[in-house]
């Protein structure tokens, strides 16, 4: 939330004056009296910032592109290198807002029309104020740690997925259906924990995890992957007249799943120039994304239409979301401790509900849940997902 510079008494005193000049309220430059709200006009060869300085605190720059090319706006540190905040991809005539938390110091503002070169720079001063913000020097350390830890987690899950998938397809090809059925939700746990990373490969995900309902057969699309095998392993839940796959077809589809899993793992384990990047906002978005997976498919029982092992996937998505969250939790605590507390509580509450459905090493089937239980789980997902959706913005502000 934007803090105001004015003390409460002063605000009251100013109200009539402000009310009197509402006609000018949208004239552009800080007409609402907030000296931390700045405007920037980024032209083809000009970068007009409404003020050359502002008091320390949360600053907003409403950047309007008055030029004819795509532009960017940066707030840079004293050295002209460190990026304090940036807003990219502003099309002509459009406005985007940069919100930054800036402590006292010397800065540069920079517009970059055409998104090339070092931009049109001007010095910018942030002066001392009662709202002065503290930026911990160790933030970068926390970020680096979070990124390294998350990378290690994804790589570990991927390696396990590869191993379990191999076991699974071996059982399936050999016709050991009971054992294959038992391993199915377990192997998929490793997939679901890193689902948002796996999904980022748009070519692999549909081949591996498409549900039958998502395939447009009339348009000639082919169905392969986990759920095709799932249907074949639970044929009693399939439609009337379903033809079980032949031994030969089993080998074809199982080998295909294995090849794609190997490809996925190769990409995740890649090093050097091919290594995946996990910037802090991607980790936070990954946590949010996994919860959305729960809200979209698992809570409705649509994901595992034949095996009904949706709660295994549910738990795995929550695991993945929680690991991603806990990686950035320390950093979040420096920015918004209340949000951190709330998220921890909500994760715990959701986990407690899931624990009620445990059975043996796994969970009850989705079809065994009562409507009340589904609603309760759904409400807990909403209760967590809503504050979690603030995570990225809070971490990157």
């Amino acid at each position: 939330m934007r803090k105001t510079l004015l003390a409460p008494a002063a605000v009251l005193a100013l109200l009539p004056a402000l009310a009197a000049c509402t006609d000018n309220a949208d004239s552009g430059d800080s007409a609402d009296g907030d000296v931390r709200a700045l405007t920037v006009a980024s032209g083809d060869d000009a970068c007009e910032v409404s003020a050359g300085s502002a008091p320390a605190g949360t600053l907003t720059f409403d950047v309007t592109n008055t030029g004819s090319d795509v532009t960017e706006f940066y707030l840079l540190g004293e050295d002209g290198l460190r990026i304090v905040g940036e807003v990219e991809n502003i099309g002509p005539n459009l406005t985007k807002t940069l919100t930054v938390n800036a402590p006292e110091g010397d800065y540069f503002t920079a517009c970059k029309p055409g998104m090339v070169g070092e931009g049109i720079r001007t010095g910018f001063a942030v002066t001392a104020s009662d709202d002065d913000v503290e930026v911990s020097a160790s933030d970068q350390e926390l970020i680096d740690t979070a990124e390294a830890n998350y990378r290690a987690y994804v790589q570990d899950q991927s390696a396990q997925l590869l191993e379990k998938t191999q076991e699974f397809v071996d059982l399936y090809e050999a016709g050991d259906d009971d054992e294959a059925r038992a391993l199915y939700p377990v192997a998929r746990t490793n997939w679901e924990r890193i689902e948002t990373v796996a999904e980022s490969f748009g070519d692999l995900d549909p081949k591996m995890d498409a549900r039958e309902a998502d395939v447009d057969f009339a348009a000639g699309e082919k169905w392969t992957g986990w759920h095709l095998i799932e249907k074949d392993l639970w044929p009693e839940d399939a439609e009337k007249g379903y033809q079980p796959l032949t031994a030969r077809q089993r080998v074809t589809y199982a080998d295909d799943l294995m090849a794609n899993t190997t490809d996925l793992n190769d990409r995740i384990q890649a090093t050097g120039a091919d290594a995946l990047e996990y910037p802090i906002d991607a980790i936070a978005n990954g946590s949010i994304g996994l919860l959305e997976e729960v809200a979209n498919g698992k809570i409705t029982g649509e994901e595992e239409a034949w095996s009904h092992t949706d709660l295994w996937d549910f738990q795995a998505n929550v695991d993945g979301a929680r690991v991603a969250y806990e990686g950035v939790q320390e950093l979040l605590e420096t920015k918004d401790p209340e949000l951190a507390t709330e998220l921890t509580e909500k994760f715990d509450a959701l986990q407690a509900l899931l624990d009620e459905q445990r059975e043996g090493d796994g969970f009850v089937l989705y079809t065994d849940l009562t409507q009340d239980e589904v609603r309760e789980l759904s409400a807990a997902v909403d209760a967590l997902a809503e504050p979690l959706s603030q995570l990225t913005a809070t971490l990157t502000a």
Binding site: G91, D216, A219, S378
Partner: protein, 427 residues
């Protein structure tokens, strides 16, 4: 003197009559309708007519400036007698002609008939103006040949090739109870009660000949069919229908909306008509609401505030799909505006007149809500199916959509004086 003439001479309590009398009353009604529609539109310039004639070259309710409310019904024909069906179409035509002028559904009226008989108009529209009511009729593929292949009314030879059941697309979770239909009636009005009144009375007249298969209420038009209207918003909060075919674009209407004379020899009776594709699109509202503003805008490809494309400008600025951003094109490759742009679809455009809907809540306490998509096209095979396929294959918006019902209808040309709707098909 016949009984009918007696009826005609009696002082009638028409819906308009209740407001006052004569020309002055008509003026009041008109002003009321205009003021109200304008206020809801958010514009002050658009003058919205209070009545639209039923008769004309094309059926009303297609290029008519989209009204704010909808009641749509799909019906099955239960009779096997062609004559009964034709008789119903005649009676529907008469009733629709009356109701669109603000008059009662039946010739007697809601309170003017014999006290011992149920009124021939249900009465909930007493005192309400015509409210821009339009009533539009269509014929589904199953009217020509049923699921078992039977030619039910001797119409099989006249089924246009383009009128076939839609295929199942990705992300379809179609409810059979919200899919298909032999006939459809679309009632649009500025007042929901007027639209509901129209459908209720037409359905009532059809009892014994037709049964209701499914129906849908809509509020908040989600597209603009006239340049005099401002672009409304869908339940995702974005402007919808910015690039819609507008009533003023007569060349585009001929090219993309109206069926032409030689389009299909079997379907010649449909010349001057159109095809209507209906899709009930549920939106996962709660999940969408948790997406960041930037993600929402990237998914749609437009800004949420003004509706300008991300490549810049204002709402009606043509998107620049080539313009580069910091990581790939400024308008992402999977942005909705790019995937369904006519440039990607051999130039095909549609005239959409969809509506927002909220049918209460679902089993999980989420909104059972979305967009009831209605599009009029010259040929679904070239003007709708490729767009839906393209969306299914590569539109980022699909993650937040679920298609729960669909139907397709042939919407015949307008009704001439003394004709009934669809007469060219049955004669």
């Amino acid at each position: 003197m016949t009984d009918d003439e007696t009826t005609q001479r009696r002082p009638r309590l028409s819906r308009r009559g209740l407001i006052g009398g004569g020309a002055a009353a008509a003026g009041v009604v008109g002003a009321f309708a205009v003021g109200r529609a304008s206020a809801e539109d958010g514009t002050t310039t658009a003058a919205v007519a209070s009545t639209y004639p039923l008769h004309g070259e094309h059926q009303a309710g297609i290029i008519t400036p989209a009204q704010d409310r909808l009641h749509f019904v799909a019906l099955d024909v239960t009779t096997e007698e062609r004559e009964e069906l034709v008789d119903l179409l005649r009676r529907w035509t008469d009733a629709a002609a009356r109701m669109t002028q603000g008059e009662p559904a039946g010739p007697l009226g809601p309170v003017e008939g014999p006290a011992a008989a149920p009124p021939d108009d249900t009465g909930e529209a007493i005192g309400l103006p015509a409210s821009g009511l339009t009533i539009t009729f269509g014929f589904g593929p199953s009217l020509f040949r049923d699921a078992r292949g039977r030619d039910r009314f001797g119409l099989a030879e006249r089924r246009p090739a383009a009128l076939e059941e839609l295929p199942r697309f990705s992300a379809d979770v179609l409810d059979p109870g919200r899919t298909g239909g032999d006939l459809c009636i679309q009632a649009c009005a500025h007042d929901p009660q007027v639209a509901v009144h129209a459908i209720r009375n037409l359905v009532r007249m059809g009892f014994g000949t037709t049964t209701v298969r499914w129906s849908q209420l809509g509020f908040g038009r989600t597209s603009t069919t006239s340049t005099s209207q401002s672009t409304p918003r869908n339940l995702f909060g974005f402007k919808d229908g910015t690039a819609n075919v507008k009533a003023e674009e007569s060349d585009a209407l001929d090219e993309h909306v109206w069926v032409g004379e030689g389009d299909d020899p079997a379907g010649d009776w449909l010349a001057g008509g159109s095809y209507l594709v209906a899709r009930r699109i549920n939106m996962t509202i709660e999940v969408w609401d948790r997406q960041s503003l930037e993600s929402q805008e990237n998914i749609v490809g437009r800004t949420k505030g003004t509706g300008a494309p991300l490549s810049g400008g204002a709402e009606f600025t043509e998107p620049d799909f080539e313009m580069a951003g910091s990581a790939g094109p400024l308008i992402p490759v999977d942005a909705h505006v790019r995937v369904v742009h006519p440039d990607q679809l051999d130039g095909a455009r549609m005239l959409r007149r969809g509506y927002n809907f909220v049918d209460g809540s679902n089993d999980l306490g989420g909104l059972d809500a979305g967009l009831f998509f209605l599009a009029y096209v010259r040929d679904p095979r070239t003007h709708f199916i490729p767009a839906q396929r393209a969306m299914a294959a590569s539109d980022a918006l699909m993650e937040y959509l679920r298609f729960t019902g669909q139907a397709v209808f042939a919407v015949p040309a307008g009704v001439a004086d003394g004709e009934y709707v669809g007469q060219a098909l049955f004669s």
